[in-house]
Symmetry: C2
Subunit: 142 residues, 2 copies
């Protein structure tokens, strides 16, 4: 597995560092994590990493397309290592839990309308807001 992540970095022309590998592994263990959460997760594995190194690694890897960043309203940015498929996210307003939502259609919806505005669209970002099953269960009458 370590080889996989290392190769992943190499394939994108990034040099291989303990920090980047650890960030990738942390992300794979806990997708939808904030930079801060990743820093903690990484520290559990390799003891120390600077905050800057985390932002650095995340930023570079987002740029190279290894990982993806999502930014829900009122929350720090979240990162995930699942890329390349057109999936979206559902976030619970109560507990903040974030889950992947597969998009049934390959093509994004309403794309025609966007095209009408003359935009050349390369990605559609969809966030569904609601209440997760667990929080629904705790809400009387929910």
């Amino acid at each position: 597995m370590t080889l996989d992540t290392a190769n992943l970095l190499r394939k994108h022309g990034l040099s291989i560092t303990a920090q980047r590998l650890a960030v990738l592994r942390a992300l794979s263990r806990r997708p939808h994590s904030s930079a801060d959460a990743i820093a903690e997760e990484v520290r559990a594995e390799i003891s120390v990493i600077s905050r800057q190194a985390v932002y650095n690694a995340l930023g570079t890897m987002v740029e190279k397309g290894l990982i993806r960043r999502i930014q829900p309203t009122g929350s720090p940015a979240l990162y995930e290592d699942r890329v390349g498929d057109n999936h979206h996210h559902a976030i619970c307003r109560t507990c903040g839990k974030t889950v992947d939502v597969d998009c049934a259609k390959g093509a994004a919806p309403c794309l025609t309308a966007a095209a009408d505005a003359g935009f050349q669209i390369d990605a559609a970002e969809v966030i569904y807001w609601g209440t997760c099953p667990a929080c629904l269960a705790e809400t009387p009458g929910g």
Copy 2:
């Protein structure tokens, strides 16, 4: 027009203040503005407003449904006064220009998939990322 905005506030049980009126007007002149941009726009009209008053007014009005907040990745929150219709946004990666995109369908897409995860969805937020016509024109081969 001042009457309109005043009535809008009154209708939602908010008291009418110069700051709120100015924020509403600023928003109507420049939709998709950040809190900071709105503060500047307001200052051009009524000279002074505190940052807090801007956030206050925006927060209250979002809560009451008079305006809407959108939070694109890597940008401060943007506000707009167009509410009640299920429209989305396209943002230019190059210049940051944000335009409204009407949604052809009343129901949000992929909702079934989200429902499968057991979530009770109350809103879908869609952002299309791409290149606007102006930036397309400036990009050779674009």
